[in-house]
Symmetry: C2
Subunit: 872 residues, 2 copies
């Protein structure tokens, strides 16, 4: 027969799945001899059986509960329902993973009209006893009987008012008796039942309520948000009561063994004398800091300090402890691993290694990679932020803090930035033409677009603060202002953006910069020691390259060449190239683009030094470089002196139904080899120049969107012909690679054929996900939230690699690619390259590197180390 109930002394911290977090830790504390009030835990298995049995508590389990209750009576010397010496208990839920939204706590269970009298006599404190009874009925009514809280509150308020009591503590025993009578009446009216007088009935009802609350809507939503499985169940802890409100020698408090905000190794917490836990939360009285306990009750303080120390050493992590003092005696009610900020997590982990408590590996596993994002972007200075006026809120599209003067066009942003102004770009939505403005702005604010809008994606790539989809603002780009309601903000006004929260503030808030050395540096150093997966960055320009190297990037995994085409000086040459009617005209335009591209590469190669740089040849469809509205076409026609009709025809001819699946990537190279030839020439002329400066660059040329081996074969020939010619002409020797993106499902499926011509594969998981799932990222916004709600997928497949589907293709590609070419270099350059779960998957696949945006490089370094540790 299964065992469904464990006395605290029977369990241990390893039994979390069975006893829940709270129960396992109470058991552990009992085991190591700490002063924990006696009690027992009804297991999560009992909860699961409760649901299997159609929400009924099994008779055998009930019997086990009563046996443990009897043992508890013996241990405490008190009796459940015994008038002279009543046993009172608390009933608390305790899931494996702590979960707000479930029924939490009922205190003082076991009281009724008779035992309350006994308690009054025993404690010689009738006021305390009746107040405890009053609290019990209220909690029980609220959480077990599901009677709205305000029903009780209004009675309390009425009696207080009637008797001119300002605080609860002013209530007399008679007042409390009146309240209790009224409370019982509420139960009678609302639930058509008498408030249960039998303590055992009270107990079983409370346990039933805890089990039932596992499946209440709030709990279900919480589990969904936090990806907690629904079949874990909750345990119930029944514990004999101790009272922090038995006068001035009693109290209650909460403390962290270290500072959860800064990580400082110093007790951090607060307490209240003559109070129960709920009073601390209620905030009517101001608690004292834990240090002050020394002044109030030094022996208890010393005992607590010793226990806190013991607990931290025992658990080998910072603890969050609840305690109660009953008549100068200290009791521990809970301990758990304390939540902490990223900064504290880093500090504590490093310090605990230094103190010899934990290994480097353990330290690394304790830091949530996504959390350290907070440390990598500028933040607002707290003092300055406290005075700020929030004016609206959008989506926190890209983290960081930015403050500056607002402007509404890319041109003006560039102009002002060049004069040294700090500027914020505001647009209804951004498009590729805004790139230069985005580069030069401190931050970006858009009125439309979601977390995957152009502004959001590009800003994240740049590590630039962005608040997107700020629905309340109306932007007038032409006149240069935005409005919120009737309030107008004009060009040149100051605005501040918080990309972590989506908040938008008036005026200029001071920002503070990132600190990458010290303990954070140590975490990175350890990560690098341990991980075997390389970490590169996606960077398209020298500025991003520099930032990425600072963040520890070991190379560039994706350098997109098309962003370079949008530069003001070049875009019209690009357009001439597109409008060319024959190869000669196209080549002549390309000849004029070559110096620009070369210059770009020289800058990037210089920044990256001897680190490998993967350059992707042109990828987007050509129509992305042309205007689309009639007005824009007209303007361009005039500007570049082309016939309007001809230009419009070309635009309409290039228009595509599904540009994502259209004439782009290697398909451009196959149809216009001269474009890829020019780009190869630019790359290798830049290589020659930088090598002659003494830097042994490592270029890797990447062909995008390959689906057929022949495409790659043809383009590889173009690249190699260009490389060999230029290197030979300049008498320069350089090792270079030619490879391909794996982003078309067919490429993954025929990886053996593709690998014949590819020295490396780089998984372009953005497009690979779009095609494998048949989800256009630009359009999926319309249903993806519904898909998450309905749990059709666990995680957004654009944020974390869909391991079952896309992952299977990646496995096939790795296996077949290696079969054909055993030393093939494998990497990933989709946005997933910065996602810790995806990084672990890449580690398991045995990729050589992940590549992500500069600001995610440290996250990836940590995640790669964790993946290595977890998969030893």
């Amino acid at each position: 027969m299964s065992k469904y109930v464990y006395a605290f002394e029977e369990g241990s911290k390893e039994q979390k799945p069975l006893l829940g977090g709270k129960g396992a830790n109470l058991a552990e504390m009992s085991k190591i001899g700490l002063p924990v009030p006696e009690g027992f835990t009804v297991t999560t298995e009992a909860c699961n059986k409760y649901y299997e049995d159609g929400k009924k508590i099994d008779e055998a389990i009930k019997a086990e509960i009563f046996e443990n209750l009897k043992a508890l009576e013996e241990k405490t010397g008190k009796g459940f329902g015994e008038i002279d010496n009543p046993l009172l208990v608390s009933v608390r839920s305790g899931a494996v993973i702590s979960m707000p939204g479930m029924m939490d706590t009922v205190l003082n269970l076991g009281l009724n009209d008779e035992t309350v009298e006994g308690l009054a006599k025993l404690t010689e404190n009738p006021r305390f006893a009746y107040d405890a009874f009053r609290r019990f009925i209220q909690m029980f009514g609220d959480v077990v009987l599901d009677i709205p809280k305000y029903e009780f509150d209004s009675i309390l308020e009425r009696v207080k008012e009637k008797n001119k009591c300002e605080n609860d503590t002013d209530l007399t025993v008679d007042h409390l008796k009146e309240i209790i009578a009224d409370y019982k009446n509420v139960v009678r009216m609302k639930k058509r039942m008498e408030f249960p007088v039998d303590p055992k009935e009270q107990l079983m009802m409370a346990i039933d309520a805890v089990f039932g609350s596992w499946d209440n809507p709030r709990a279900i939503i919480y589990r969904k948000i936090n990806e907690i499985p629904g079949n874990l169940g909750t345990a119930v802890n029944v514990q004999s009561m101790v009272f922090g409100n038995m006068g001035e020698t009693s109290g209650t408090g909460v403390a962290f063994t270290r500072n959860p905000s800064t990580g400082e190794n110093k007790l951090f917490g607060e307490f209240l004398m003559n109070a129960q836990g709920e009073d601390v939360v209620a905030g009517i009285r101001t608690p004292k800091t834990i240090d002050q306990l020394k002044e109030v009750m030094e022996p208890v303080y010393n005992e607590f300090v010793a226990i806190a120390d013991k607990l931290e050493n025992h658990y080998r992590d910072m603890q969050d402890i609840e305690f109660t003092i009953e008549k100068e005696k200290l009791y521990l009610l809970q301990t758990r691993t304390g939540k902490r900020t990223a900064k504290a997590a880093v500090e504590i982990a490093v310090e605990m290694v230094d103190e010899g408590h934990i290994s480097k590996e353990e330290a690394l596993l304790r830091i949530e990679p996504n959390q350290i994002d907070q440390l990598l972007h500028p933040t607002f200075e707290e003092a300055s932020l406290n005075e700020a006026v929030q004016i609206t809120k959008g989506l926190p599209a890209s983290p960081g803090a930015a403050a500056g003067k607002i402007y509404f066009t890319s041109e003006e942003i560039v102009e002002r930035a060049e004069k040294g102004e700090k500027v914020i770009l505001i647009r209804t939505e951004t498009s590729p033409e805004d790139i230069e403005g985005m580069v030069n702005a401190e931050g970006i604010l858009t009125a439309r677009g979601g977390m995957t809008s152009h502004a959001a994606v590009v800003a994240r790539g740049m590590g630039k603060c962005c608040v997107a989809g700020c629905g309340e603002i109306r932007v007038d780009e032409v006149r240069g202002y935005f409005k919120i309601g009737d309030k107008v903000y004009n060009r040149g006004d100051y605005v501040s953006l918080d990309g972590n929260t989506g908040m938008v503030y008036e005026g200029l808030i001071k920002t503070q910069d990132v600190e990458l050395s010290g303990t954070f540096g140590k975490i990175m150093e350890w990560s690098d020691e341990i991980r075997t997966l390389g970490v590169r960055t996606n960077a398209d320009n020298p500025r991003d390259s520099r930032a990425a190297v600072k963040f520890g990037a070991e190379g560039i995994g994706l350098c997109r060449t098309e962003h370079m085409f949008f530069d003001e000086e070049r875009i019209n040459v690009v357009r001439e190239m597109i409008l060319a009617e024959n190869v000669e005209d196209r080549k002549s335009a390309l000849d004029r683009l070559l110096p620009f591209q070369k210059e770009d590469f020289v800058g990037i190669f210089r920044e990256m030094g001897e680190r490998p740089v993967t350059v992707r040849l042109l990828d987007p469809p050509l129509h992305e470089f042309l205007p689309h509205t009639d007005d824009d076409i007209k303007a361009l026609a005039e500007e570049i002196k082309v016939d309007y009709d001809k230009l419009r025809d070309k635009v309409s001819q290039l228009k595509e139904f599904n540009p994502m699946l259209g004439h782009r990537g290697v398909r451009l190279g196959v149809t216009y080899p001269e474009i890829y030839e020019m780009q190869s020439n630019a790359i290798f002329e830049a290589v020659v120049q930088v090598v002659k400066e003494g830097i042994n660059v490592k270029p890797e040329v990447m062909i995008p969107l390959v689906g057929f081996q022949k495409e790659l074969e043809m383009m590889k020939e173009v690249v190699i012909a260009s490389a060999e010619r230029i290197l030979k002409e300049n008498d320069v020797e350089v090792e270079y690679l030619v490879g391909t993106m794996i982003e078309v499902p067919r490429a993954a499926l025929t990886a053996d054929e593709i690998a014949k011509h590819a020295q490396f594969f780089s998984f372009g998981t953005n497009d690979l996900t779009q095609m494998t799932l048949g989800f256009s990222r630009d359009d999926a916004g319309k249903f993806i939230e519904i898909y998450k709600d309905k749990e059709i997928f666990e995680r957004d497949p654009f944020q974390s690699v869909d391991q079952t589907g896309v992952g299977k293709l990646m496995e096939i590609a790795c296996k077949d690619g290696r079969k054909e070419r055993s030393d093939i270099k494998l990497g990933i350059c989709g946005e997933h390259g910065g996602d810790p779960k995806s990084i672990e998957f890449c580690h398991k696949l045995g990729l050589n590197y992940v590549s992500c945006s500069p600001y995610r490089v440290p996250i990836a370094r940590l995640a790669a180390a964790q993946a290595k540790i977890r998969n030893k």
Copy 2:
């Protein structure tokens, strides 16, 4: 040491890869004792060696040639270059697969100034001899020396004119000598060489030229078009000359053992007396029919009839025979399997089985499935066609012949068709709103759009004649006319379209209908006996269903429900449904659509009887049902009395960047379950009605675009709830299946998970190809031709399944799907289901059925039988 040269008597018909088609058959005829002029074959291996050696004929091979030449001299008793009794030979190329574009024939090789004299004396016919020499120089000059033909022609013409000769035969020996001298001069001027006098040199030059011609551009193009590998090489046949032009007891001719046009079992051919082969082709004299040979030279006729019979029996197929009569002696110069029309292919195959020559399996393999398409569509009566005036030409987008009055709007087409008029729909291009017009028209003509345009795809699906992309015509739909140049064709004028050729004719040409019984019926019967792969049809309405059943469809593999939504009566209700702001309004519009959908299904179920019918729930994105231009939106807003701005907002809100990968298929079902619920209700209410009429229908409900098992699980619940309720309420029992399309790569990759909820898979290879290759079908037109030219893929992946890529996904899906559910039903419903190569692939995968458009059902039946035979 390899043997590179074979005397005819050394070879046999099985040695085609080595001796080429012509050589192997000459050898075979020699072997079975037929009168073939002596000769030998230089093998294809010699050709390949020629290329390996950098276009040089190996000395050893040369020696082998001369040995065989010597043997030939002995056999014929003539000498090469021997003045008194010169051996003359023909040199002919002979590839494994006959291939125009290669060097073909040089006759009379061996002549020079001396041997021509000898020939003159020997034949006592100087005119014949000098004419032979003249012809030789001209042919040699043209095909070996690559001198343009007109250079020789102009000399011949000049001499004829100067001497007032009307025909070549009027030329005297002196004239011919003058011509010969001038011809030699041409060679001297053009090639800076003397015309070679040494017969051995002539021979080696000719062999070299044949080998060289294997790689000329025309040959390369021909091989590409016909998918002939480039490494087969060609053989060269050297054969002693016989002369059909040695006076009135000589002659030459060509005959088929059966009629290649009708298949009739009767010699069919023609001959000319006193002529060489080229004279028959030149068409200056009118040849006589082969029957007439009996009158001219009965013994030879009888011998020829006997030989033709023997050859057909020997080769067990209809033969195409070339012969020459030299002074009453019959020689055979070639036999090969005769090309034939679809009609003849069918007739001959069936008759040869009846005659006991071949087995049913052999008969089936002899019919090219794609060719029988000709037999399945109406054609023009030949007499009527001969008088017709062609006015323009477009793309042959969908086969068949159609004639009728022209109209320019769907509405008018419907109106006129209802009055019984035969009508042709003419549009600049068609869109989904034209469906009803297309259904009611005899044929469709569009000015724009390619072979995969809307008009083309839909028309092929309907088996309706369509000429698309007819660039010369300018259509004015509003005023109701089209123009070609200045010529105007008004509404109501007659026009005829040939969908097989793309020709457009003025006036009404009589058409003739399809004959499915008789020998064609026999082929189908045998196919059905043999094949194991089922053949279903894609049909969306009772009319197509009826046609498909007539063609032998065993069920419907794809019934699209969205085409039904475009009907005039319904489209605005559909739009109301789309514009609904809440579930109630949407449901109310859906309630009004239900009777229409039910009625559709009732009609289809009645036609299909007890055959399974797979109904696909709504697939296209909702914006397809809304207008897109401002004007159309305005018009609709007025029509359905909706606020213009609201409508425009909705249109713009539904707009997608990549609709192919957008909010469609099961994603609609997940977000608006009420749509799928209505469709399920309509299906099962129709089922109930038709079952009560006594037909045991077999519905199969198919969920499109599934990528995640949960999507299918949820929608399956909706369908089953609807089915169970309706069947129970009506006390009807019916077996039904619920399954899914496999068209998203992820579905194929996770087929085991999907199969948990799917009773059948149907491969939607159109979308599966688009997503696996990352090719938008609507956009790929811009580069797909270039891809074919550059041989990036062998076949258009939208016409024939890309077996390496898409096929691999299909294999994975079949394997994993069966692993999870061993009795899962597997089918294909993409357009590939009608492509013979893809059908063979499906057979090998072990699919249960293919589904294709009604008019391709017979093709699929034959192809399925062939697949079975080939893969025994």
